[in-house]
Amino acid sequence: MRSWWETLFHTPKCRLCDSPHSAPAWAPIWRRVCSPCIERLAPIQGTICPRCGRAQLVSELCWDCKKLTNPPLTANRSSLSYLTYSRACIHRLKYQGQVSLAPPLAEMMVHTLLEARWCVDSITFVPLHSTRLFERGFNQAEMLAQEIAKRVSLPLAHCLERVIETPAQSSRGKRARQQTLVGAIVLKEGLERHVRSKHWLLIDDVYTTGATLLECARTLKKAGANKVYSLTLAR
C-alpha cells in the first residue's frame, strides 16, 4: 500500500531499482535509469571487437574471432557486460517473471543497435524448446525482440524452432555447448521463401560463447539468408 503522499504526489523512481530518480517519461532510457544502476550495469562502450562486440583495448578482431573461418554470424553487439547486476536483472526478467523489465532493457539494446548502423530487414529471436516454453510461460528473447521491433519499426518473424531439448547451456563447457546444439535448431516449415536473401537480426539475452547464436545463424544461412547479425542484452 502506498502512503497517502505517494498516492497524491508523483515520486519519480529509477526504472530499474526504485530509488528516487527523476526524468521525463519520454527521455532516453539511460536518463530514466539512476546513475548507480548505470554504473552497475556497465554498458559496453569504447573499443570493441568489430565482429563479436567484446569490449577490449583495441578495435580489431579478438582472439576467438580470429580462429573462426567464415562464420555464419556476420557480427554481434551486446549492450551490457554480463556482471553481477546485469545478471541479476536478466534473472529477474527470466526466472522471476518481472516482465516490466523488458521494455527498458530492450530500449538499451535499441541504443546499441542504432550505434552499430546495420542495415537489417527483419528481426527474429533465439527459440526455446516447447517444453521449456511451457515451464517458463514466455520466451525472454522473444519478449525483448518484440519490444525492439516495436521501437525500430521492423517486422518480427517467428522463424526458428528448437527441436531437441538441450540441457541448460549455462552449466556446460564450451565444447559441450557446441556439440549438443548441432541440429537442435531448425527453420519452421514453409518459411524458406520468407528467409531467403534477407538481412536478419537475431535477438537473445546473453552471449557467452556465441554457440547458440552461431547455430541459429547457420540455420538461417542454410535457408538462404543474406546476412545474419545478432544483438544481445549482455555478454
Partner: protein, 812 residues
C-alpha cells in the same frame, strides 16, 4: 495514475472553459453532476477502469458547476436603470490617485435614490472621484482602504464596452471582478468618510507605504520608482516611459512581482538562515511564516500567489523529507486560485504565470541536456528563456497582438542580471535599511548603478525600430496546433537517438509553418475583402483602409488639443489617441506598415495621434495639402516624417490611381496648381478629399472640408452618386451642403465625432439634411467604431456597439 492533482486541475480548467463558453442551464448541471460522480466512482472502485479519464470528467463537471454557480450569483442588485444616488459603503481596494482622479473599489451597503433606499448587500462598485484642486488631492491621499464612506450625488453608469475592434472591454473586465456599476463623483467635497478604516487590508497598505518610503530613502529618485515597482509590485510608482520600454521589450514580468521574485526571496531567506547555522526545521518554519506576509505585501497577484503556494509546499516537503512534485504543486495552486475566483482563469497574469511555469517544469531539464554549449549555467539560461518565450508566445499574441523580436535576446541577458544582482541586492538593502541606513546604502548604491546601466541600454534598444511585429489574435485551433507542435518538438529533440530525424524535421516545419501562417494568412487564403474602419477616437477623424493584399492606408489620426494642465492634474500616463486607440487597433489587425498616410489637414483632431503612429510604424508615403505646418504639433509631426525620410506628396488630381486590382482612388481636392503657398488661415477648406472605388462601391473621404471647398469640388468635378460618405467636419453645419448631397445621394453616412464634444458636433441640421436625402447615419459617438467590408458586389457595414441602431432615413 501518477499525478491525480494535475488531472484534477486540468479537468477543472476544462470545466471552467466549457462552462463559460457554452451555457448549459444551471439546474441541469447540478442534477447531472452527482450522477457523473456516482458512475465514475462505481467504475473506478468496482471495475478499476479508466481512472484518469473518469477523474478528468468528474473534475470537469465540478468545475463547470462551480463556475456556473459563481456566474449565477455575479449579478447586480440594481434592477432598473438608476442614474444618480447617494452611496454608503466601505472601500475595499487601495485607492489609486492619478492626476485629478481618485479611484477605488467600494463595497456598497446602501444606495439612496429618488425612489428610496436600496439594500446592496455589499455589491462591489467602482467609485471615481474627480478632484478639483491641489488641496483636494492632498486630502484624497489620506483616504485608506477599509474606510467607511458616504458619497453623495453619485452618477451611476454601466462600465464602458470596447468602442474599437480589439480594444479593452472595461465592462467584461469589471464584470469578472464582480463590478457592474461605475459611480462618478464630482469633487472631493461629495465624499465623506463616516467610519475610520478597519481590517487587516489597511495594515497591509500602511506597511506597504512604510516599505515604499524606505525605498525612496535609500534609492536615488531615478531608480526609486522602478525599485518599488520591482520589489513591492507598486506599478504606479514606475515612470510611464520606463514602463513602456519594459513592455516594448517583453520584460514587463520584471516590473511586476512575479514568481521569480518569490523564488529569490525564499532562496535568500532560507539560504541566509541556514548560512547563519539555524537548523533546517527552524529555517523552514521562519520562511513558511514569511511567505504569506510577502505575498500580501506585494499585492497578491495571481503569479505571486502561485509562487507562494508552490514555495510553501516545497518547503513542507523539505521538512517532511519527501521528493517534491512541483507539477502537482502547480496544479494545487491553480485549484486554490480557481476555487477562490474562477474568473481568474481569464486574466493574463494567471495564464502567463501558470502556462510558463508549467512549460518550465516540464521542459527545462530535458532541454538543458540537449543544448550544445559547454557552460552549464549558460545552457540553463538559454533553455529557460527559450521555453518561457515559446510558452508565452500564444498567450501574448492572444491578449496584446504584438511581440518584439528582441524579446528573446533581451530576456536572455537582462533576466539574469535582475534575478542575480538587482533584485537580491534590492531586497538585501531593504532588509538592512530597517536596522541601519548607512549599512543599506552600499547594496542600494550597487543595485542602483547596475539598474541605471540596464535602463540606459534598454532605452537604446527601444529606440531601435522595426523589431516589433503585430499579429492578428490567433484562433483556438491555431493555439492547439502551436501547442501540439511545440510538444512534438520537445518530444523529438529530447527523446534521445530513438527519435528519427524525420520527427525533428516535421516538428520544426510544423512550428515554423504555424507561425508563418499566422503572420501571413492572406498568402494561404487570399481573397480577404477590403476593410475600412472608422475608428472611434473621440472628437476627431481616423480611418484605416486595408486592401485584400495587405496594403494599408491611414487617413488621419485624430486626437485632442493639448490643453494646459497644472502639475497636480498630470496623469502618470498622459492620454494619447495614437498610443491608446490607433496603435492597438493596427496591432490587432496584424498591420506592420502603413503604405499611404493621408493627412487631410493639420488640425489637432486629425493629426494628434499620428506622432506615436509614425514612431511605431514605417510609413511609405504621405499625402497632405500644400499648407505649411500651422501648429507646434504639426511641425513636430512633419519633422519626424522628415527624419524618417518619408516622402511628402501633394494630392495628384490628374487621374485615378490604382491601389490594388479593382481598387482605385481619385483625389478631388485641393487643387494645388497655381496656388500660392503660405496661406496661413484655417486650412479646413483645403482638406484632402478623395473618392475610393472598390468592388462596385464608392466611398468619399472629405476631411474637414466646408461649404466653400465643397463648392469648388462641385464646380470642378462631375460627381457620381456614392455609397458611403465620411461626413465632413464631424457633421458641422458649415459643411455638407444640400447642393453637394443633391449630387452624391450617399446611402450611408458616417459621422466621426466625440461624445459630448464642446463644439456641438454633429449639427442636427446636417443630420436632418442627410436623413431627408435618404442616408442611413452611423455615428462613432453612439456606435463606436464603424467597420465597412467590401468584396466584389457586396458591401457590409457594422458598428462596434451593435445594440445602438443607426439613424434610418426619413421616408417620404
Amino acid at each position: 495514475m501518477k499525478r491525480p492533482i494535475v488531472v484534477l486541475a486540468s479537468g477543472w480548467i476544462l470545466g471552467v472553459i466549457v462552462s463559460s463558453g457554452w451555457s448549459l442551464p444551471f439546474q441541469w448541471m447540478i442534477a447531472l453532476t452527482p450522477w457523473v460522480w456516482l458512475v465514475g466512482g462505481w467504475m473506478v472502485y468496482f471495475q478499476r477502469r479508466y481512472p484518469v479519464i473518469i477523474l478528468l470528467v468528474c473534475a470537469c463537471t465540478t468545475g463547470m458547476v462551480h463556475f456556473a454557480w459563481v456566474d449565477q450569483h455575479n449579478r447586480t442588485l440594481l434592477t432598473d436603470e438608476v442614474e444618480e444616488g447617494r452611496i454608503m459603503g466601505r472601500i475595499v481596494s487601495s485607492p489609486k490617485i492619478d492626476g485629478g482622479w481618485i479611484q477605488a473599489e467600494i463595497e456598497v451597503y446602501q444606495l439612496h435614490t429618488s425612489k428610496g433606499w436600496v439594500q446592496m448587500k455589499g455589491e462591489k462598485m467602482l467609485l471615481r472621484v474627480s478632484l478639483q484642486s491641489r488641496k483636494e488631492k492632498e486630502s484624497a491621499q489620506r483616504l485608506e482602504r477599509g474606510a467607511g464612506v458616504l458619497a453623495s450625488s453619485v452618477s451611476l453608469s454601466r462600465p464602458s464596452l470596447a468602442r474599437n475592434p480589439g480594444a479593452f472591454n472595461m465592462r467584461q473586465y469589471l464584470y469578472r471582478e464582480g463590478i457592474h456599476w461605475v459611480g462618478d463623483v464630482k469633487g472631493w467635497g461629495n465624499l465623506h468618510q463616516i467610519d475610520s478604516p478597519r481590517g487587516i487590508d489597511r495594515s497591509v497598505d500602511r506597511l506597504r507605504l512604510i516599505v515604499m518610503q524606505k525605498i525612496e530613502e535609500i534609492y536615488p529618485p531615478e531608480t526609486a520608482g522602478v525599485m518599488s515597482g520591482m520589489l513591492l509590485g507598486i506599478r504606479e510608482a514606475v515612470p510611464s516611459t520606463i514602463e513602456e520600454e519594459f513592455i516594448h521589450l517583453g520584460l514587463v514580468h520584471l516590473l511586476a512581482v512575479s514568481g521569480l521574485h518569490v523564488a529569490i526571496v525564499v532562496a535568500m531567506m532560507y539560504g541566509g538562515l541556514t548560512f547563519m547555522r539555524v537548523t533546517r526545521e527552524k529555517a523552514v518554519m521562519v520562511t513558511l511564516c514569511a511567505i504569506p506576509i510577502y505575498v500580501f505585501l506585494t499585492g497578491a497577484a495571481p503569479s505571486t500567489v502561485r509562487a507562494g503556494v508552490m514555495a510553501i509546499l516545497g518547503l513542507m516537503t523539505l521538512w517532511w523529507r519527501r521528493a517534491p512534485d512541483r507539477l502537482s504543486f502547480l496544479a494545487l495552486a491553480a485549484l486554490l486560485l480557481l476555487w477562490w475566483d474562477p474568473y481568474i482563469l481569464f486574466s493574463v497574469g494567471f495564464q502567463l504565470s501558470f502556462g510558463v511555469t508549467f512549460a518550465l517544469l516540464v521542459a527545462t531539464g530535458p532541454v538543458v541536456e540537449v543544448l550544445p554549449f559547454r557552460w552549464v549555467a549558460f545552457n540553463q539560461v538559454v533553455a529557460v528563456t527559450t521555453i518561457a518565450q515559446l510558452a508565452s508566445f500564444p498567450i501574448i499574441l492572444y491578449h496584446f497582438h504584438v511581440i518584439s523580436w528582441l524579446s528573446w535576446g533581451v530576456n536572455l541577458i537582462i533576466v539574469p542580471i535582475f534575478s542575480l544582482m538587482i533584485t537580491p541586492l534590492g531586497y538585501g538593502a531593504l532588509f538592512l535599511s530597517f536596522f541601519n541606513e548607512t549599512l543599506a546604502s552600499l547594496p542600494a548604491w550597487l543595485s542602483s548603478q547596475v539598474l541605471s546601466g540596464v535602463l540606459y541600454g534598454m532605452k537604446w534598444l527601444t529606440s531601435l525600430n522595426g523589431f516589433e511585429q503585430s499579429w492578428e489574435p490567433p484562433s483556438w485551433w491555431w493555439i492547439f496546433l502551436y501547442a501540439g507542435s511545440v510538444a512534438y518538438l520537445l518530444w523529438s529533440y529530447t527523446g534521445g537517438p530513438l527519435r528519427p530525424w524525420r520527427h525533428r524535421l516535421t516538428a520544426l516545419v510544423l512550428l515554423f509553418g504555424s507561425i508563418v501562417f499566422l503572420h501571413l494568412p492572406w498568402v494561404i487564403q487570399p481573397g480577404k475583402e477590403l476593410t475600412i474602419t472608422f475608428l472611434d477616437v473621440g472628437q476627431g477623424d481616423c480611418t484605416v483602409i486595408e486592401t485584400p493584399t495587405g496594403k494599408v492606408i491611414l487617413v488621419d489620426g485624430g486626437g485632442q488639443l493639448p490643453f494646459a494642465k497644472k502639475e497636480w492634474q498630470r496623469k502618470r500616463k498622459e492620454y494619447d489617441v495614437g498610443k491608446s486607440v490607433i496603435i492597438p487597433y493596427l496591432h490587432y489587425q496584424g498591420i506592420d506598415k502603413i503604405d499611404w498616410l493621408v493627412i487631410t489637414h493639420g488640425d489637432a483632431d486629425h493629426i494628434g495621434g499620428l506622432g506615436a503612429v509614425v514612431k511605431r510604424f514605417p510609413v511609405g508615403k504621405v499625402i497632405r495639402n500644400h499648407h505649411p505646418p500651422g501648429s507646434e504639433m504639426e511641425r513636430a509631426l512633419i519633422k519626424l516624417l522628415n527624419q524618417k525620410q518619408v516622402p511628402l506628396l501633394l494630392p495628384p488630381l490628374d487621374r485615378p490611381y490604382i491601389i490594388d486590382q479593382g481598387i482605385t482612388w481619385q483625389f478631388l481636392h485641393p487643387n494645388t496648381t497655381g496656388q500660392t503657398p503660405g496661406k496661413l488661415e484655417s486650412s479646413n477648406d483645403d482638406s484632402v478629399v478623395f473618392l475610393l472605388e472598390a468592388g462596385g462601391s464608392r466611398i468619399l473621404f472629405t476631411g474637414d472640408i466646408e461649404a466653400h471647398g465643397e463648392e469648388e469640388i462641385r464646380k470642378r468635378w462631375e460627381l457620381p452618386s456614392i455609397d458611403v460618405l465620411k461626413v465632413a467636419h464631424h457633421g458641422s453645419k458649415t459643411s455638407t451642403e444640400q447642393e453637394l448631397l443633391n449630387k452624391l445621394h450617399p446611402r450611408e453616412a458616417v459621422i466621426s465625432v466625440g461624445k459630448n464634444n464642446r463644439y456641438g458636433h454633429p449639427s442636427p441640421v446636417v443630420i436632418k439634411r442627410l436623413q431627408q436625402d435618404g442616408s442611413r447615419i452611423w455615428r462613432t459617438d453612439h456606435q463606436g467604431a464603424i467597420t465597412l467590408r467590401i468584396s466584389p458586389g457586396k458591401r457590409e457595414m457594422k458598428a462596434m456597439l451593435e445594440s445602438v441602431p443607426s439613424l434610418q432615413p426619413f421616408k417620404d
